[in-house]
């Protein structure tokens, strides 16, 4: 299908990120790696949101998937080790997504968004109240692989992005893309044309939540500490939605470019403008919508869908 045109660009940026620890940035090296970590992670989260949005489900539950993954991985890592804990974290998020998805099948657009928001708020309260989560005080998380390898978190984050990109590219270049696009544009018509809409929606939500849960797990291993307000943050869910719109919806390249630009931009603005940097950030969002209605990738070509 389409999307071949951007493939070299996607590949190039991935290679750049893979090599980032070895590029000569001098004193900025470590700082860029830390920024890079969060760029990769939040870009992956944004891609996972886009993957779901392609079916027309506007998820505000990505903060919840992120939090589910973060807490499950954080709780399990001491017993099971890093990778199994991350995997189970992702699966927990996936299970949450299937529960959410199957009861909200008939909700569309903003109704789905608000139901998923409500879901997220309820889960946050659970994290706050359950006896084994550390409650409001928070949960310490061990670093990955007992801290043996300093670049571990960076490459874990890179791995999450790689997975998100691979899933997104697969979805974009297989018939699944048509099923998603048909479902988004009209569920009734899609069904009459034989698209198994329920499956398409649930699969998309499942894949998206697995990536989001994985991202959450890696996040905890970087910050070493989770609290319900941070891990289940609504702000993070919103960021996951802002990035794809900013970069260009329903594509792989859009969230990728959007994530790299927007997350780095925020870090840079904070560093150089400091007070009131979010005023500039807000203004940039507005200007992009007004002048680049298809997002940043709108500059590259006119297609989407």
């Amino acid at each position: 299908m389409k999307g071949f045109g951007h493939f070299p660009l996607i590949l190039l940026s991935l290679v750049l990120f893979a090599l980032l620890p070895f590029l000569p940035f001098g004193v900025w090296q470590a700082f860029l790696l830390d920024v890079g970590f969060f760029v990769l992670l939040f870009t992956a989260l944004a891609l996972s949101w886009d993957l779901v949005a392609r079916t027309g489900q506007l998820s505000l539950a990505h903060g919840a998937f992120f939090g589910l993954g973060a807490y499950s991985a954080g709780l399990l890592a001491p017993q099971l080790g890093t990778l199994p804990a991350l995997l189970l974290g992702a699966l927990t998020a996936g299970a949450g997504a299937l529960v959410l998805g199957s009861v909200t099948l008939r909700l569309h657009g903003l109704y789905f968004a608000i139901a998923s928001l409500a879901f997220s708020e309820v889960l946050r309260t659970l994290a706050l109240k359950l006896p084994f989560t550390g409650g409001p005080i928070g949960l310490p998380v061990p670093p990955p692989f007992a801290g043996a390898w300093p670049l571990a978190t960076y490459y874990l984050s890179f791995g999450v992005l790689l997975l998100a990109t691979a899933l997104s590219l697969w979805a974009e270049r297989s018939p699944f893309r048509l099923a998603q696009a048909a479902t988004r544009q009209s569920e009734a018509v899609a069904r009459v044309l034989g698209v198994r809409v329920v499956q398409v929606k649930l699969w998309s939500l499942l894949l998206g939540s697995l990536v989001a849960g994985l991202a959450g797990g890696v996040y905890g291993m970087k910050t070493l500490f989770l609290s319900p307000y941070d891990a289940f943050s609504l702000g993070r869910a919103v960021e996951a939605l802002v990035i794809p719109i900013f970069g260009g919806l329903y594509t792989t390249l859009g969230p990728l470019v959007g994530g790299v630009v927007l997350v780095s931009l925020e870090q840079a603005l904070r560093l150089w403008i400091k007070e009131g940097y979010l005023v500039v950030y807000g203004a940039i969002l507005i200007l992009v919508i007004l002048f680049l209605p298809r997002g940043l990738v709108g500059i590259l070509g006119r297609r989407r869908g």
Binding site: P175, L178, A179, A181, A182, Q185, S186, A188, V189, A190, R191, V192, L193, G194, V195, R196, V197, Y250, R304, G305
Partner: protein, 241 residues
């Protein structure tokens, strides 16, 4: 010839309004059946029931002898029951070819990408949409939209096709073309049930006509037969007066 599609005593209420009342009708293999009736007679409800978008309160729907009353729309499509909508609803962000590909790939489970693409080529040719195949569906003219609607239903390779006022809004010349197209589709072995307002179209196209009024079947027969039926005349004229 046997019955390919059958509605047996189908009823449906909406919020206390009786939209369909024990409707029984059938479609013969290879036949073109028209369902007509004044506005609000329940024609669209009937089509939605047949294609599975809504479920009947009572009665059964049989397709090729199989009870499909409780099957979801996509499963009916997989069995070979296709449908085109009255208000054309292309996927505007996909190209014409991609629109058809949706039907071709998902309409029959197990269709390979290659088979699907080949079939889409054929449908494009049949419906005269080849030259527009790479255009975004959102950019089509009304006539092209109507063709796409038909083509997309056809792409699912149906044995039975349900058409919902596909001629509405077309100029006489364009309608003539569309009629020819529908006849051509029948030639490929597809049985057709269609809803129509435009009477000349019904006359030239339909082998048989069923008339609905207030959710009930009030007449059935050839165009000439039902046109003579006093109840039909009353239903149409009485309301207009």
């Amino acid at each position: 010839m046997g019955k390919v599609l059958e509605a047996a005593g189908v009823s449906k209420r909406f919020l206390g309004l009786q939209a369909l009342k024990e409707v029984t009708l059938h479609l013969e293999e290879g036949e073109i059946l028209a369902v007509i009736g004044p506005n609000g007679a329940g024609k669209s409800t009937l089509l939605n029931l047949l294609s599975g978008l809504i479920k009947p309160d009572q009665g059964r729907i049989l397709f090729l002898g199989q009870d499909i009353t409780h099957l979801p729309p996509e499963a009916r499509t997989h069995l070979g029951l296709g449908r085109a909508f009255q208000i054309v609803q292309p996927f505007p962000e996909l190209t014409v070819r991609e629109n058809l590909l949706v039907g071709a790939l998902f309409g029959k489970p197990g269709t390979s990408r290659k088979e699907g693409e080949a079939w889409v080529e054929e449908v494009l040719r049949l419906t005269g949409l080849q030259s527009r195949s790479e255009a975004l569906a959102g950019d089509l003219t009304l006539l092209e939209d109507k063709r796409l609607e038909l083509a997309r239903a056809l792409a699912t390779r149906p044995k039975v096709l349900l058409l919902d006022e596909v001629m509405a809004g077309l100029r006489p010349k364009e309608a003539e073309e569309a009629v020819a197209l529908v006849k051509q589709i029948r030639e490929t072995g597809v049985s057709i049930l269609f809803i129509e307002h435009v009477m000349p179209v019904v006359r030239t196209l339909a082998d048989r006509v069923v008339v609905l009024d207030y959710g009930e079947v009030i007449a059935e027969g050839t165009y000439q037969e039902v046109a003579q039926d006093p109840r039909v005349r009353e239903a149409y004229l009485g309301r207009r007066a």
